[in-house]
């Protein structure tokens, strides 16, 4: 056993692992934002509200329909994604020809409305949602007690992130998507239904937020403000990673989780601020973000 700056190494490893777990939430959420921004050029401020909806839909499925965690893990993202598709068709699609700012304002307004509606209905204290029976308990790793559920969160989010990255960067569908962002007119001329593709992409990004919401439901309080607290940090992650960069957002998500975890050991008071300090530094040195390409 050795110590680093007065902190026992065992405690440090534990904190790093926890940082990784929190990082996986940042990664999934910032990935969704990056996909949406990369392909639609929309800064989706409603992402936090959609994450919250994922958690609430899981709770509703359990309490109104008796549907448990595992089916909810699939159903809730589908439902929230479908909601996203409707939003895109009815409202967001009208704004593509305008400046980013309009999309941002629209989605920000939508986020406030959605949160307000849930707040009116369910209050702010939150609703109980238990950890599924299969994942209760945990492992004693020697340096820390790792709840099984947290281990599952890391695995699930890693898989989802990698699959998304693979689909967008390595498959034919992904190639269409990337081509459509470069030059939608030309891609449409080749017979690809670009508007449909864009709608589904938004739906997918929103579904990712819903998925993260279901993952979060058993460990965080399910309440209408849960997304608003998180989304600002996630935006910082996206900015640091480089707007629209898929791999960048995944790596930055996990990395910043680690940085935050370390801050919680050495100077916990600053743990809510450290990500923004990094954001300022990155913007000063590399304005396009760590993985972004300057245009």
């Amino acid at each position: 056993m050795f110590t680093i700056f007065g902190v026992p190494s065992a405690a440090l490893f534990g904190q790093l692992l926890l940082g990784l777990i929190n990082g996986s939430f940042y990664a999934i959420l910032s990935l969704g934002l990056a996909v949406i921004f990369g392909l639609l050029n929309i800064i989706n401020f409603a992402h936090g509200a959609q994450y919250m909806m994922g958690a609430f839909v899981a709770w509703m499925l359990l309490n109104y329909a008796g549907i448990g965690y595992w089916p909810a893990l699939l159903l809730a993202p589908l439902l929230v994604g479908a909601f996203g598709v409707v939003l895109e068709r009815v409202m967001i699609s009208r704004l593509y020809k305008f400046d980013h700012l309009y999309g941002l304002l629209l989605t920000f307004g939508l986020a406030l409305i959605i949160q307000g509606l849930f707040r009116n209905q369910y209050g702010v204290s939150g609703l109980p949602y238990g950890i599924p029976a299969e994942l209760r308990g945990g492992q004693a790793l020697g340096f820390m007690f790792l709840p099984n559920y947290r281990a599952w969160v890391v695995v699930a989010s890693l898989v989802v992130c990698l699959v998304t990255w693979f689909v967008i960067e390595k498959t034919k569908l992904g190639a269409y998507l990337r081509a459509a962002t470069e030059n939608p007119t030309l891609v449409q001329a080749f017979g690809v239904n670009v508007p449909l593709m864009i709608t589904l992409t938004y739906g997918f990004g929103v579904a990712l937020a819903g998925f993260a919401g279901v993952l979060a439901a058993p460990i965080y309080s399910v309440n209408p403000n849960m997304g608003a607290d998180l989304i600002i940090v996630v935006f910082a992650v996206v900015v640091i990673g480089g707007m629209g960069s898929i791999l960048g957002s995944i790596l930055t998500g996990f990395a910043l989780g680690l940085v935050e975890g370390l801050t919680k050991v050495f100077y916990p008071e600053a743990s809510a601020t450290v990500i923004f300090v990094i954001m300022v530094l990155v913007l000063l040195v590399k304005p396009a973000g760590l993985f972004g390409r300057a245009t």
């Binding site: 405690a11 109980p128 238990g130 559920y149 947290r150 008071e269």
Partner: protein, 406 residues
Amino acid sequence: MTDTMTRLTRLAATAVCALAASAAGAQTAVKFGVLNDRSGVYADITGEGSVVATRLAVEDFKAAEKGLKVEVVSADHQNKPDIGSNIARTWFDQDGVDAILDVPTSSVGLAVSGIAKEKNRVFLNSGSGTSDLTGRSCSPNTISWTYDTWALGNGTGAAMTKRGGNTWFFVTADYAFGTALERDATEAIKKAGGTVAGSVRHPFPGQDFSSFMLQAQASKAKVVGFANAGGDTINSIKQASEFGLVQGGQSLAGLLIFVTDIKSLGLQTAQGLVLTEPFYWDRDEASRAFARRFAERMGGKMPSAVHAGVYSSAIHYMKAVAELKDTKDGAAVVAKMKAMPTDDPIFGKGAVRQDGRKLHDMYLFEVKKPAESKGEWDLYKTLATIPAAEAWRPMAEGGCPLVPKT
């Protein structure tokens, strides 16, 4: 024909209004401003419920019969001292508000207390917990009604220490309330023969507390005390249970827990928690009657201790004003409130001390096991009553400048 009728009706209406106005002129106008969190972490504990509690107080006091014309306004301070201060100033300067009620979040409460003193109006604190409001920051215009960090630390801290939990680790919200709560609880624990192994300050509001749970586990302290509130406490306890703190032999102590927090956690997670509160809806006939009327207007939700405190403080304020027949001099109203004994259906008989501390009994509760609970809101069982004489910090120890030094 109809034209004449309409004109006549209008005339009659004007006459009635004029009469009503002249009658109102003989009345004392009272304007309550309920300032609290209506959208954030404390919105269920305070929020609209405090407005409803104020209205119930006005009804029960039969204000109109006693020559008071009461108006109630409300606003959201978003837990931010700057926003809270702005609203308080506007209310006092422009809107003619006589007394501000509630104000959760101690940093905002301290700011509003300062403004009430500067403008010579009244601040009836129910939501803010810091004991500094009756200590070094006490004011001749402020009364702290419901609870404070000293009473909570004294209740839960001393009780847990005496039950064998003599080493503590604190998870503390990093702002005025959290640090005051940790300080006061530490004092109570040491007095009861315990020690504090360490503490960690988390940003407010927080979301993920797992890192702090790990630090709490590593401390090997017998009791992990949460010196935070609302959503922060809920997330802390949820994650403490996830990380197996209780299975590892540690006990959890929520130093400020409201009934709505337990409702949100669910009994499965919260069972066995020991906590101190001045009010529980299901304690006696009077509290149940109040809770029933409250729930009718709040979609079935039961009142929190803060709601009860807002109700009780509004009644006592109106009693004082009904005697003085004037609200202009805030310090005089508060002095009158201190001179009169308090008496209301919820807190019973009590008094307001020179430093602005309202005195009543506190209760030590334990959260029921799921099998013991008979209904959705059947959550606590009473362990002990802490009599008013022991529940509050002795006035001489608070350092309030209003208290003459002996």
